[in-house]
């Protein structure tokens, strides 16, 4: 019981997290910083949002390709 963790493979969860967090950053933090006039924080949050979105999409594509290649 203690040698195998109760894990189902975490990559799907990770991809979802990256995409969801990107959305939250864009729709919450970016808008809030623009409204409050915090320019430096606004710029940084845009960069962070794009990083998360890019990582999420790249991993999603790679994961789908891996599954497709594995099923052939």
């Amino acid at each position: 019981m203690f040698t195998d963790s109760n894990s189902t493979g975490y990559i799907g969860y990770a991809i979802s997290l990256w995409l969801v967090t990107a959305a939250v950053i864009f729709f919450l933090d970016v808008r809030t910083y623009r409204r409050t006039g915090q320019n430096k924080e606004w710029k940084v949050s845009i960069i962070l949002g794009w990083i998360n979105l890019a990582v999420g999409l790249i991993l999603l594509i790679l994961n789908q390709m891996t599954e497709w290649l594995g099923s052939r």
């Binding site: 203690f2 963790s5 109760n6 975490y10 969860y13 997290l17 809030t32 910083y33 940084v44």
Partner: protein, 369 residues
């Protein structure tokens, strides 16, 4: 977001320290102590607490010397911008790892003891999301959260310890130095590593109403947390004996299972205890998550940390899922714990020494700059 005013009282600082320390490690604490010194487990726990107290005192003294700055900023004043950057990055990475390992340990306990069919990923994500959302608040609210949950953590632990002593065998605690213990120093370091979340004092002090009370807060906080830890180890060892504890992964959880309220009002209190323990894990995780994002915010000279609370969630999750099993997880925790002592005790010690030698002191500087 403007800089929050100084609103944290000495009492709140104490509760931040205690609720940050009491967390996921409390379940395995007696095992670590017994592995080091068998029946001398209470002694090694005491020694670990004293070492942690020394470390936190260094942080408090530094904070009192630089009352308007966190460690991220006054380290730049003391050792220069580029050397301080190395130290600050080390703080950031260490607390990111600590957050991930804490979340993973929580997840493993939950899927082993309570939700046996739930993937560990789900339990880890739930707790991390909770910490991420809560860490979006400012530092004053952060302290209020700890202050609010403090009695909820302390009282049940004391109740379990007190009730378990009615079936205690004091012979199990002898000899108090342990049977020819060979790992006393290792054990002391492992126990001291459990107190590392108290490092949060280094960012709390600039927001205290009276920063000169930081040393009082630190000593009281470690007295309460350390005292509780020693009592937990005494209760576990006197109930089970050191040999039996070596066969238990989470002895304090087993102690809660073996304890019941008088007249069997509640035959097993481990269910209620686990609910309280979840709160304890949350406060510890909140502290380490807050330290992670706050340190980066301060390094980048930003005025707000909210964006990082969401940004790092997937990264922390990935780190949390790296250990392949509970065994490798605890191995990683032990290694990182010992490395962390260099950072949480050694680094503040060096900073304090250099600050004294170079006659560096703080002034009335905005903590965010």
């Amino acid at each position: 977001m403007s800089q929050p005013p100084r609103e944290i009282t000495m009492m709140q600082a104490i509760t931040v320290i205690v609720s940050s320390i009491i967390g996921v490690g409390v379940l395995a604490l007696p095992l670590f102590a017994v592995q080091a010194a068998n029946s001398g487990a209470p002694l090694v726990t005491l020694l670990g607490s004293l070492l942690a107290t020394f470390g936190l005192s260094l942080i408090a003294m530094l904070g009192m010397r630089f009352p308007d700055q966190s460690i991220i900023l006054y380290s730049e004043v003391i050792i220069g911008k580029w050397l301080a950057l190395l130290g600050n990055l080390a703080i950031f990475f260490f607390f990111a790892m600590l957050t991930s390992l804490t979340a993973r340990e929580f997840g493993e306990v939950v899927v082993t003891s309570v939700l046996k069919n739930t993937p560990v990923e789900v339990t880890v994500i739930v707790m991390l999301v909770l910490a991420a959302i809560s860490s979006r608040n400012n530092i004053t609210t952060f302290a209020y959260i700890h202050f609010f949950y403090f009695p909820l953590l302390l009282v049940p632990a004391l109740i379990i310890v007190a009730l378990s002593l009615k079936t205690a065998e004091t012979i199990y605690l002898q000899p108090i130095y342990g049977n020819a213990p060979t790992n006393l120093l290792q054990g002391t370091l492992v126990i001291a590593a459990l107190f590392q979340p108290a490092f949060v004092m280094s960012i709390i002090i600039p927001y205290m109403k009276n920063p000169q009370k930081a040393i009082h807060s630190s000593l009281w906080g470690l007295l309460i947390a350390g005292g509780l830890y020693v009592m937990i180890v005494i209760a576990a060892v006197s109930r089970f004996g050191s040999e039996e504890i070596l066969k238990l992964l989470w002895p304090f959880l087993e102690l809660a299972k073996a304890t019941s309220l008088p007249a069997n009002i509640l035959e097993r209190i481990d269910a209620a205890f686990l609910a309280v323990w979840v709160t304890a894990v949350f406060t510890t995780l909140l502290t380490s998550y807050f330290m992670t994002i706050y340190s980066l915010t301060a390094m980048l000279k930003l005025k707000d940390h909210k964006m990082f609370s969401i940004f790092f969630l997937p990264v922390i999750f990935i780190l949390a899922m790296q250990p392949k099993s509970i065994i490798s997880m605890y191995s990683t925790i032990t290694i990182f714990g010992k490395i962390g002592l260099v950072l949480t005790i050694g680094y503040p010690g060096i900073l304090l020494l250099i600050a004294i030698l170079r006659k560096k002191k703080g002034g009335t500087v905005d903590p965010y700059h």
